[in-house]
Amino acid sequence: MASVSIKQLDLNFGTVEVLKNLDLEIEQGEFLVLLGSSGCGKSTLLNCIAGLLDVSAGQIFISGKNVTWEEPKDRGIGMVFQSYALYPQMTVEGNLAFGLKNAKVPKDEIDTRIKRASEILHIEPLLKRKPAQLSGGQRQRVAIGRAMVRDVDVFLFDEPLSNLDAKLRAELRVELKRLHQQLDNTTMIYVTHDQIEALTLADRIAIMKEGSIQQLADPHTIYNKPVNLFVANFIGSPSINLLHGDMTGGKAPMFTFGGGKVSVKGYDFAEPPVAGNAVLGVRPEHVAYGEAAKKMPFKTKVSVDVVEPMGSDTLVWTTLGEETFRFRVGGQTDIAKGQEVTIGFDPATTSIFDHASELRL
């Protein structure tokens, strides 16, 4: 049974359509990440699920119950916000207990739940403190605790790590993953614009753009088989290389672009290829160089424009045909600017899109 299911959801602010006919099914215990750039409607969708925004049309089910017009407290959800949103005048304990007191949970039950949550989140020594006396990471732990004590089926996270510095963010990311493994029956819906968070945490990622979901799949599929140009461009840092050219159809399809001809026979086409304008996308780490490149189905010589050492690896910028082409090599490399190098790739690891529709072929 689906834990959260959203059916044909519409949301308009005045004449602006923020969410358009959106369908989404989330399984019990799943970690789903809503990923997109700002203004794509991902936080709006989360607020709709939480009941903090009234939908214009459509329905929302949580644990099989139609909650479209229920109050947030009756939906069986807990929510964690970007700014932590802790009540400043209450102690940590008061913050954790607030929702339970509102729900008239007995005192000793409140104590038991607070004790359990604070053990899991390592915030026991902080219970008597005010939020102002806590660090950012501690505050966010308390905010997660506030959702935990409510004993809910669904956790909603609205960019919970965005206010933390990079190091703390990485630490809490792992803790969140651990927490999800501990609470394996709890569904988590997580909004972020950070693709690393999305790729590391998610069971499935929903990539959103302009109020609709572009692709809903596991991180591996999203990364390796993006359904359209937008997803291919959005995911991956450094971003994917895009080569514009023409493709022929038939039994032995060829992709021709400014830098040469590629036999794309090994490519896993969704439908038999037809001739037309196309875009070929190659991830920088799928490009081989030097000896390894010679074994690749497609190889060519390029000259190096820029070398960017990034510690663990190095990004090399070249020009292929008329287009910028990046590839990634190890951290220790002797490639220098102006040098001629042989590079190659296997068309099976690439993504080919139709030029007009921008959809994956």
Binding site: I77, Y87, G99
Partner: protein
């Protein structure tokens, strides 16, 4: 002491004298007897300090028909002030909270109308209000004046509270809703404890405004119910007999004492409130 400091302190000194001199004249005149005042030496310290004018101003100066001093007016003013301040702030804070956090249908229109009310000149409304109060049976009664003060305070106070509540992060409000707090639960348990500074501002605004009011007091009440300011005017402007400058001065200081005390007490609270709010929570 450098030249710059001399400039700064010199200027401050001159400005202070400018502001404090009238107060000085008032205080010393109120402590002099009439014979001393007749000498005409306004700035001279009293030769013989007497509190007689203060006693007279408070308990036996004549204001029109009554000769029981300002004490009656003081009580009237308190009876007008306390309910007006409490009711207007209570209603306005809930108004502001609802407008800022619960985006109900027609909220913008309601707010626009309310703010528009702040720009209509008082004079236009004086007579219609007389009729309304008369129809309600509240004309010349203290209750009527309380109502007038409450209504006239509403636009600016609502604006004040709405803007303050808008500045409180929306996520806090959302978190409280997810935690199951309702309209009043969020107001009393979340918003109210965070809004001490704005309540102090509202209290200062209302106490001084209502205490210092003269126009509404003289129009909507009768001599028995006159607030202190109207009585003060009657004492100072009474044309019979000798002008008792010392009694007038004492009466004036007495009337101004309440706003002064409010400034001194709440001014400190105000600063503390703002400082407490500045710490990020």
């Amino acid at each position: 002491m450098s030249g710059r400091n001399i400039m700064i302190y010199g200027t401050l000194f001159v400005v202070s004298i400018y502001y404090l001199l009238p107060l000085y004249v008032m205080v010393i005149t109120s402590l002099k007897g009439m014979p001393e005042i007749r000498l005409g030496n306004v700035f001279a310290l009293p030769v013989e300090i007497t509190f007689e004018p203060w006693v007279k101003a408070w308990s036996s100066a004549c204001t029109g028909l009554n000769c029981d001093g300002l004490s009656r007016g003081f009580l009237n003013s308190v009876r007008i002030l306390v309910p007006s301040v409490l009711i207007s702030i209570l209603i306005a804070s809930v108004n502001g909270y609802a407008l800022a956090n619960w985006r109900f249908k027609g909220a913008d229109l309601f707010f626009t109308i309310l703010i528009f009310g702040a720009f209509i000149p008082y004079q236009v409304m004086i007579y219609p209000i007389v009729i309304i109060l008369r129809e309600l049976g509240l004309y010349t009664k203290l209750g009527g004046l309380v109502m007038v003060h409450t209504i006239f305070g509403m636009p600016i106070l609502t604006l004040l509270f709405r803007n303050y509540f808008t500045s409180i992060p929306e996520e806090l409000f959302k978190a409280a809703r997810v935690d199951g707090a309702g309209f009043w639960g969020i107001y009393f348990k979340i918003m109210l404890p965070m809004s001490l500074p704005i309540f102090v501002v509202a209290i200062i605004l209302q106490v001084t405004g209502i205490w210092n009011d003269f126009l509404f007091g003289v129009i909507y009440t009768k001599p028995d119910n006159y607030p202190m300011t109207v009585q003060l005017n009657n004492i100072v402007n009474s044309v019979q007999g000798v002008k008792e400058y010392n009694v007038n001065m004492a009466a004036t200081i007495l009337t101004g004492l309440v706003p002064l005390i409010v400034y001194f007490i709440s001014g400190k609270l105000f600063v503390r409130g703002i400082a407490a709010g500045a710490v990020k929570g």
